[in-house]
Amino acid sequence: MSQEKHHIMSYTTHLIVLGVLLILTAVSVAVTSLELGALSTLVAMLIAGVKAAIVLVWFMHLKFDNKLYTIFTVFVLVLFLLVLYVTFFDYSYR
Amino acid sequence: MILGASTFVEGVDFAFMFILGIAFFFLISITAVMIFFIYRYNKKRNPKATQVKDSTTLEITWTVIPLILVMGMFYYGYVGWIPMKKPPEEGVTITSHARMWSFSFEYENGRVSDKLYVPVDTAVIINLNAMDVLHAFYIPAFRIKEDMVPGLANNRTWFEATKTGSYSVFCAEYCGLQHSYMLSEVVVMEQDEFWEWYHDPDAMTLEVPDDADPAILGRQIISSKGCTACHSLDGSSLVGPTFAGRYGETITVITDGQEREVLYDEEYVKRSIYDPDYDITEGFRPGQMLSYEGEISEEEIEFIVAFLESLNE
């Protein structure tokens, strides 16, 4: 088994990523405190999605690792969303 | 098909025939082919195998043909079922209460019965009310079944019977110990007969002939209300304590987490029936028996007491 070459992320990149995450957190706290009703839910979930993607891509190295992991991850998320969607066939029309 | 007596029967039975017909066709022909191969190509008769190439056309054929057939099955299943989901506006409305382990049926005029009485050729809408756990309201002859879910809004089903007679009602969702005894009957009557029954004023009040033995009446109430599902008359413990030999004794109960002694008297029986979780008999669980307030009158309790007393003799 060969030890493949690993990409090493520098400390600065880490700190930049962290900075972005913190800013996004602040934004979502700010936006939701405005009480925009359904809109604030949407925005909060969107921001959370972006944050999650950042964590996956940089902190969890999806960007540098074998593409297989990205495929797996996307597949799992799609599967989950489909299950959620199908469940709501029941609840939305009950 | 088995006996059928509602307007749904036709659609459902057609779907059965359609699906089972195709199923038998494939089952029999594939089995026949297999048997033929075993006969024709067995090692003795055919010592050398001939390799055969895969064929995409064939793969597509046997994907598409079954696909079309199952779409047909889906369609007829859908057509046979859709009327069940569309109760008509007009009709007799009855509420079915289910508890462990009996059904009772309440009519719009307040009349309550343990069998379901309905008029023929009339739409009957049944509101389903489960009082404790899941049950299911199942009438095979009408081809309907619907779960009774505690707390579910709009939990109902409907049917229109086409033949007079009486048919079984089953509880089809597992609900504990006496699930298999949770049965009733639906009696389909001619329309005028039904309305006569429905408006029968005497049926509303308990009729007590002067010379009747209260203990015997009590015994009837106990069995018609389904108490014996949980309470034995022979001393053995079922879900609840036995009725035998308890009346007049001093027993241990748990009230508010505190153990105490009480006398098993009329007062106690009444409280046990109207507010069963107030005193929990030692060794049993709260939440099993539900209150019968509004279902059993004070007068009836007197008869029950008379009966319990008679068990000591």
């Binding site: 088994m1 599967l79 299950v83 066939f89 029941d90 609840y91 009950r94 | 088995i2 459902v12 779907a15 059965f16 494939f26 089952l27 594939i30 082919v33 297999m34 191969f37 075993i38 190509y41 090692k43 195998a49 390799q51 064939l58 793969e59 046997w62 994907t63 079954p66 696909l67 199952v70 099955m73 889906f74 007829y76 299943g77 859908y78 079922w81 404790d132 756990v133 899941l134 299911a136 002859a141 081809r143 079944k145 619907e146 779960d147 879910v149 505690p150 939990n155 079984s168 509880c171 089809a172 969702e173 597992y174 609900c175 110990l177 006496q178 699930h179 298999s180 005894y181 049965l183 049993f284």
Partner: protein, 535 residues
């Protein structure tokens, strides 16, 4: 790769490692020993659950009390269901034959994580023990294997150990799944591209994904039920605002994919056996591979067909019915390809072949009656009746069970280096098969007549079907005894054989020693041919 000369040509059965005797087994990380550990454990619990099944049938031979009371009966079908599903057929073929043969068939020395593999057996045993503790503290659970809310947290019976045990068993299943996916990705022999991989590993791969992605769902559901019962959190309890139907959704989001966990490896085993006993390439290799993946994937979205009468919205009902019919197609494709494999073959009529063909027959009955259940109008009538019981015994027992027996008779000489008595094996099969049909066919009729399932007692009009069915159970147990006695006896005293390839198979397991040595290969094979390359 370093050197293994010292253990050369010593079979894994004789091999002596750090530990002696039984410890050498229960602490061995050798995938073959782990596989056999699973086999023996299953044999024990299978017998237990089968006896419970027989007792239930005896109870049902006549209306009313025959040999047991309702509480006992309810506990029996619950424990019977839990053992059969969570302990036997879900781990089933992957844990036994997957562990034993997956590495060999892809030319590896072991699975990717041998120690984890042993750990999953241990977790499995712990799970079983936890399930069984309920027997000693508070009595067997009486909820049915489905643990439907709210009964499961209201019943006075002791359901906690069962819930918790099933939860632990789920872990074992997940670990096996992870192990297999990594094994297949990382450890295929040089030259074995994806489409040169035999079909049994393929189905194990598809199954492993389902194990990984579906099992956590039941895990959390059972855990929540435990919390509901102990703490009263209220997530499923209608009295606190919870929705009991949501419990059913979660339960079946796992349990429907789980039925494909049960059947896929069985289909894989059948796809190994048929070409070998026909001396022919499997017909439609790619179609079979793709249909396995399709079953695994689409199988996620049909769970609602168990809930057609549960009070779901109408739209959900027909969506689920539609999807259910879609998922039946890949199974149909497989059946057609299997039968075509026999065409112009040179059929070697031996025990594994009998099991394989009878598998196809009973699987068809099970599957085609599945279609009756998948259609809305008919489902409403037969849901929760003995029709369903017949359907799943045909397809779970007839599908997974028969393929298990087929696989066992097929790989037996390789596993034990001994041969069983073929005459007894065939007799056992014949008795068993006739018993099977007598036992379960009448149940279809009972179901259409309207006899609900989980009924301890029934009305006299259902008597006829039940008598026949109960007699079938006795016949079948007789068949099972013959089979088991024959196999157990042969594994110790059967005719010794070191023939590497008794049936003329073309997959890699027939190129190792019989029985295989500790690390299967002296040298990892180099794969150049397609699987099943018969000339």
């Amino acid at each position: 790769m370093s050197e293994t000369t010292s253990s050369k040509h010593v079979s894994f059965l004789q091999y002596k490692g750090k530990y002696k005797g039984i410890l050498g087994w229960i602490l061995s990380t050798d995938h073959k020993r782990v596989g056999l550990l699973y086999l023996y454990t299953m044999l024990v619990f299978f017998s237990l659950a089968a006896i419970l099944g027989l007792l239930m049938k005896l109870q049902l031979i006549a209306p009313g009390y025959t040999i047991m009371g309702p509480q006992t009966y309810n506990a029996m079908f619950t424990v019977h269901g839990i053992i059969m599903i969570f302990i036997i057929v879900v781990p089933g073929l992957p844990a036994v034959f997957g562990n034993f043969f997956l590495p060999i068939m892809i030319g590896a020395k072991d699975v990717a994580f041998p120690r984890l593999n042993l750990a999953s057996w241990w977790i499995y045993v712990i799970g079983i023990l936890v399930v069984l503790t309920s027997q000693f503290v508070g009595g067997w659970p009486d909820t049915g294997w489905t643990f439907y809310a709210p009964y499961s947290f209201q019943t006075p019976a002791n359901v906690l150990p069962a819930l918790f045990g099933a939860f632990i068993l789920g872990f074992s299943s997940i670990l096996t799944g992870i192990n297999f996916v990594v094994t297949v990705h990382r450890m295929r022999a040089p030259g074995m591209s994806w489409f040169k991989m035999p079909l049994f590993p393929w189905t194990l791969y598809a199954t492993a994904w389902v194990q990984i992605l579906a099992t956590p769902v039941i895990g959390i559901t059972l855990l929540l039920t435990v919390m509901e019962r102990v703490l009263g959190v209220g997530v499923f309890d209608p009295a606190l605002g919870g929705d009991p139907i949501l419990y059913q959704h979660l339960f079946w989001i796992y349990s429907h994919p789980a039925v494909y966990i049960m059947i896929l490896p069985g289909m894989g085993a059948i796809s190994e056996i048929l070409p070998v006993f026909s001396q022919k390439r499997i017909y439609g290799y790619k179609a079979i591979v793709l249909s396995s993946l399709a079953i695994a994937f689409v199988g996620y979205f049909v769970w609602g067909h168990h809930m057609f009468t549960s009070g779901m919205s109408g739209r959900a009902l027909y969506a689920f019915s539609f999807l259910t019919f879609i998922v039946a197609i890949p199974s149909a494709i497989k059946v057609f390809n299997w039968v075509s494999t026999m065409y112009k073959g040179s059929l070697n009529l031996q025990t594994p072949f009998y099991w394989a063909t009878s598998f196809i027959f009973v699987f068809m009955i099970g599957g085609l009656t599945g279609l009756v259940l998948g259609s809305l109008a008919t489902n409403v009538h037969v849901h929760d009746t003995h029709f369903v019981v017949a359907h799943f015994h045909f397809i779970v027992f007839g599908g997974t069970g028969f393929s298990f027996m087929a696989a066992l008779h097929y790989w037996f000489p390789k596993m034990f280096g001994r041969m069983y008595d073929a005459n007894w094996a065939n007799t056992g099969w014949a008795v068993f098969f006739s018993g099977f049909l007598t036992l379960y066919l009448p149940m279809f009729y009972l179901g259409i007549q309207g006899m609900p399932r989980r009924y301890y007692d029934y009305l006299p009009e259902f008597h006829g079907g039940n008598i026949i069915s109960s007699l079938g159970a006795i016949l079948m147990i007789a068949g099972a005894m013959i089979i088991i006695v024959n196999l157990v006896r042969s594994s110790r005293h059967g005719q010794k054989t070191s023939d590497k390839n008794p049936w003329g198979g073309r997959t890699l397991e027939w190129e190792t020693d019989t029985p295989p040595t500790l690390e299967n290969w002296d040298e990892i094979p180099n794969v150049t041919e397609e699987p099943y390359e018969y000339k």
